[in-house]
């Protein structure tokens, strides 16, 4: 027990001395004020822990002084006990004193035993009060810190989410956070060949911890999408990153989707999230992508599966990806939102109303109750591409500067590497380190993807591209996967030659495979080529034609040379 500072207020010196001696003998420190006015002054300068106050005093009496002291203390949100000393026949004074804010009283003449006991009691109370104050201060400090962290988390999440991809008019999103901000991450971005990548990630927990796990995920998503890696590889990379630095009990449920409007295909990787839904304009459910994998960050690299599920679509449709917060939100009766209600919403309203309708549905369901989990959703409208040619990455300004140097690169990939590597994004990354080629990344990606895919799919794997037409896309993908798994020999050679000719800088791209080739003469006259553009498999070739100044086949049709003018 620490010694208290005790302010004794009394105008009669003999009384004051008596009280002070009691205080001093208990091990506390006392000091004297001879009236109420003086008590107020000393109270400010000495900051006592306890006040022993006489009632009848000149200048300012004890009742007035008590009232003034109590007001000051209340204003400062503090408490210091005030003990009144008063003659027994002044019972009305005592009542007034207690009403004025005194905590207790002792009648005069003072009984020393009683005074001792009361001082002891107040000593305990003062100690408890100090402890509570200390805890409160600590709690306030923690609260301020939590507030700061929450703001940091909110800032990070905003920065991660607020990017170009989501300004896409076909993509919309909503977010109803459980705390001040949501831990659900939503991202959208396009690959160089115009495939739209979407991500909805739901980390364990909310607030800053959730934001922390979102950082490596978002950066992998944007970085790899920009380079043109497929979602399966992006999922693998995210899993690896999270495994590296998250403790075992933290993970991230994630859905990755790729929308390819050229081929009319939607691909999804879903690990730990509720089903992604592909919904027709009439509300019919075209496809449900269930969670096929554990969440990201759980499995070691060797056990990770990048298996995706693809579907071809033949009509305008909507892709809906939601966090579990949506499906688990319970209304007052403990009921959840049924899927049929959401499908009905799509059937009943036009696409402009879908997002608002969904949000209203959730808000009505919750009916003002707070969300217990972050509720977020990502909605993409997928119209059938009606142009005969897909949009192409923006062309850079022709510089008219002839590249003075030359640059050459030749690479070969054998069967084992063809099975496992993302050849095009990796190669493009290398090519675009040549400064004059960098601005042409988008076009080069498209050209290289088409040429490489043709060499692999048709040259080495012998797949029939006419399968893709008429809704046979899944079958095509199955055959491709099976053939690729069986591939034991074969090679694809690619070479790149940057040089100048006829006052132009050009990049010659040559791709050849060890397959049997094909009768390329069929595709060479422009007339028959244009007829092919209505079909998914014919578009690729037409696209290359539109980007390159020359495209010619050689050998048995297993060699192709494209010239791109910078």
């Amino acid at each position: 027990m620490r010694p208290l500072k005790v302010l004794v207020v009394d105008d009669t010196l003999a009384n004051a001395k008596l009280v002070q001696s009691v205080v001093d003998r208990l091990g506390h420190r006392s000091f004297l004020a001879e009236n109420g006015q003086r008590a107020l002054e000393l109270f400010e300068t000495e900051q006592p822990d306890l006040v022993l106050m006489d009632v009848m005093m000149p200048v300012m009496d004890g009742i007035s002084a008590t009232r003034e002291l109590r007001e000051r203390l209340r204003a400062g949100k503090r408490w210091v006990p005030i003990l009144l000393l008063s003659a027994l026949d002044d019972i009305s004074d005592i009542v007034r004193g207690l009403e004025a804010g005194a905590d207790d009283y002792v009648v005069k003449p003072v009984n020393i035993q009683l005074l001792k006991a009361k001082i002891q009691n107040f000593t305990h109370q003062v100690e408890m009060q100090e402890q509570i104050l200390q805890h409160t201060t600590e709690l306030e400090r923690w609260h301020a810190m939590a507030q700061q962290q929450s703001e940091l988390g909110s800032h990070i999440m905003d920065r991660l989410i607020n990017t170009e991809g989501l300004r896409n008019t076909l993509v919309s999103q909503f977010n109803i956070p459980a705390e001040t901000f949501s831990g659900d991450l939503i991202c959208a971005a396009r690959t160089p060949d115009n495939i739209l990548h979407l991500l909805l990630a739901d980390a364990t927990g909310h607030g800053l911890p959730a934001a922390l796990t979102a950082i490596p995920i978002a950066s992998a998503f944007y970085r790899m999408t920009e380079k043109g890696f497929p979602i399966a590889s992006i999922a693998r990379e995210m899993n690896l990153k999270l495994r590296e630095f998250l403790p075992a009990d933290r993970f991230v449920a994630a859905t990755l989707a790729a929308i390819n409007v050229n081929d009319q295909v939607v691909e999804v990787w879903n690990g730990g999230n509720p089903s992604a839904l592909l919904i027709a304009e009439n509300g019919a459910l075209l496809k449900e992508w269930r969670s096929r994998h554990p969440p990201l960050g759980v499995l070691p690299a060797a056990a990770f599966s990048e298996q995706i599920e693809a579907i071809g679509y033949q009509e305008d449709c909507n892709l809906l990806i939601c966090s579990d917060g949506l499906w688990e939100a319970e209304n007052a009766e403990g009921r959840r939102i049924e899927r049929d209600r959401i499908l009905a919403l799509f059937a009943a309203t036009g696409r402009e109303q879908h997002l608002a309708g969904l949000q209203a549905l959730v808000q009505n369901h919750l009916a003002g109750a707070p969300a217990l989990d972050d509720i977020s959703g990502l909605l993409a409208w997928i119209p059938i591409e009606r142009r005969s040619l897909p949009r192409v990455a923006a062309q850079p300004e022709r510089s008219h500067l002839v590249h003075s140097g030359e640059w050459h690169l030749a690479v070969s990939y054998w069967a084992e590497e063809l099975k496992s590597l993302d050849v095009v994004p990796a190669l493009l990354d290398l090519i675009c380190q040549v400064p004059v080629l960098k601005p042409h990344k988008g076009s080069l990606f498209i050209i290289l993807s088409e040429l490489y895919n043709n060499a692999l799919d048709h040259g080495l794997l012998g797949l029939d591209s006419s399968l893709k037409a008429g809704g046979g896309f899944e079958l095509y993908m199955q055959q491709r996967e099976a053939s690729l798994a069986r591939l034991s020999e074969g090679r694809i050679d690619m070479s790149f030659w940057l040089h100048s000719t006829d006052n132009e800088s050009v990049l010659d791209i040559k791709v050849s495979d060890t397959g049997p080739g094909f009768d390329y003469t069929r595709y060479l006259d422009e007339e028959s080529l244009l007829k092919q553009t209505a079909l998914p498999h014919g578009r690729g070739l037409a696209l290359i034609r539109s980007l390159c100044s020359q495209l010619r086949y050689a050998g048995n049709g297993n060699q192709v040379i494209a010239r791109y003018v910078l």
């Binding site: 403790p247 449920a253 554990p294 499995l299």
Partner: protein
């Protein structure tokens, strides 16, 4: 949540009852630590029959248990999942991580 421990034939069963969520952290941890420290225990079985709710932090706790058990050369299995508990485990594909015993 209540946890009842039962050991037989090198197998320790932790039967959970009630809500399995963040607030269970300390109890669950001390229960499985105790089970794993027992040299006779080769396998820890988590009986979820009495669990009516399980959230993502519970999934995290199961993963922690699994990591701890593996480091000691012991195995973990889950049993008697039903209703929403089974749904949550299905969505997380925990059958690819844990042995599931009906």
């Amino acid at each position: 949540m209540q946890i009842t421990t039962h050991s037989a034939n090198n197998q320790t069963t932790l039967a959970l009852n009630g809500r399995f969520d963040f607030h269970t952290h300390r109890d669950f941890r001390s229960a499985y630590e105790q089970a794993l420290e027992d040299a006779a225990t080769r396998e820890v079985v988590i009986d979820l029959g009495g669990v009516d709710y399980l959230d993502s932090s519970a999934l995290g706790m199961l993963l922690l248990l699994r990591e701890r058990a593996e480091s000691m050369g012991k195995t973990v299995s889950l049993t008697r999942m039903q209703g929403t508990v089974k749904q949550v485990l299905d969505v997380a594909n925990f059958d690819k991580i844990f042995v599931m015993k009906g």
